[in-house]
């Protein structure tokens, strides 16, 4: 991993996976994703909401859109695309949290399992879904071949 990978740049894109099975996004509805798509898990997000930094020339080891869409659900996933600088302009930080299986793993530390139902968290979830999501890609299915960016 490059030495500067610990710093998440404003011009980086991040991915947030949305399980198709939940109905949190419907491409036919022409409406933003549900804020629920950005709610931390009751137990699995103690340090922050999981996102993935996007593959780029600077970070070729980070996942592509197709790779970011891979997960255990047989129904597949949508992927919301956001820009780090847009989040920071709204006071929402993104920090690196590399994992062995995903060196591009990152966290939004303001959104945690502990505060997942607070008024402030619901407001941030709404901002992420309604104002900061640039687009939602997919659906991608487990059986699909990974699309290229």
């Amino acid at each position: 991993m490059p030495l500067d990978a610990a710093f998440v740049g404003d011009d980086e894109f991040i991915y947030r996976r949305i399980p198709v099975s939940t109905g949190w996004y419907d491409p036919a509805a022409a409406e933003p994703a549900s804020p629920r798509a950005f709610q931390p898990h009751p137990e699995n997000d103690p340090e922050g909401l999981s996102v993935s930094r996007a593959k780029s020339e600077e970070h070729p080891d980070f996942p592509s859109l197709g790779e970011a869409s891979l997960g255990p659900s047989r129904h597949g996933y949508f992927v919301a695309v956001l820009r780090v600088g847009d989040l920071r302009q709204r006071g929402i930080d993104v920090v690196a949290d590399p994992l062995e299986e995903n060196p591009g793993h990152a966290l939004i530390p303001d959104l945690t399992s502990g505060n997942r139902n607070s008024a402030g968290t619901w407001e941030l979830m709404s901002i992420l879904a309604d104002e900061l999501t640039l687009r939602v890609e997919g659906p991608f299915h487990v059986a699909d071949e990974s699309p290229t960016d």
Partner: protein, 130 residues
């Protein structure tokens, strides 16, 4: 243009037919919500591959009562009825420029949230009256 009794009587059945069709459409949309809740009732509280917790019996019971309350009160059918991922259920509305959500938690407690341009402007408990 003068509205003669003949033209009124000709128009009324059409309007009534349109109203009937609209009512039938709305009834069908509410029925789809009931069907979805019944589908979830087959395996309440299951944990899926993403570790998401699907609606509990308590939240499904409360959602069913909420549907009856909204339907009988003449409210619009929600844009989406979705699992919360924590055993609860959300009903989402998207009127222009705002967002309204009924959240039902895993124990069946209901609250209503209203957002104006993503700002939370209202959060109140909703008693189920049905």
């Amino acid at each position: 243009m003068a509205d003669t009794s003949a033209s009124r009587s000709a128009a009324l059945p059409e309007a009534s037919h349109a109203d009937d069709q609209k009512a039938a459409g709305v009834a069908g949309e509410w029925q789809r919500v009931f069907d979805l809740l019944e589908e979830w009732r087959r395996s309440p509280g299951r944990v899926d591959e993403d570790d998401l917790i699907w609606p509990t019996e308590e939240s499904i019971d409360a959602a069913t009562r909420l549907v009856e309350m909204l339907r009988d009160g003449g409210k619009a059918v929600p844009l989406r009825v979705v699992p919360g991922g924590d055993g609860g259920i959300s009903f989402e509305y998207r009127p222009e420029g705002s967002c309204g959500i009924y959240n039902i938690d895993e124990a069946g407690k209901v609250e209503r949230l209203k957002f104006e341009r993503s700002k939370l402007v209202e959060r109140v408990a909703v008693p189920l009256t049905v």
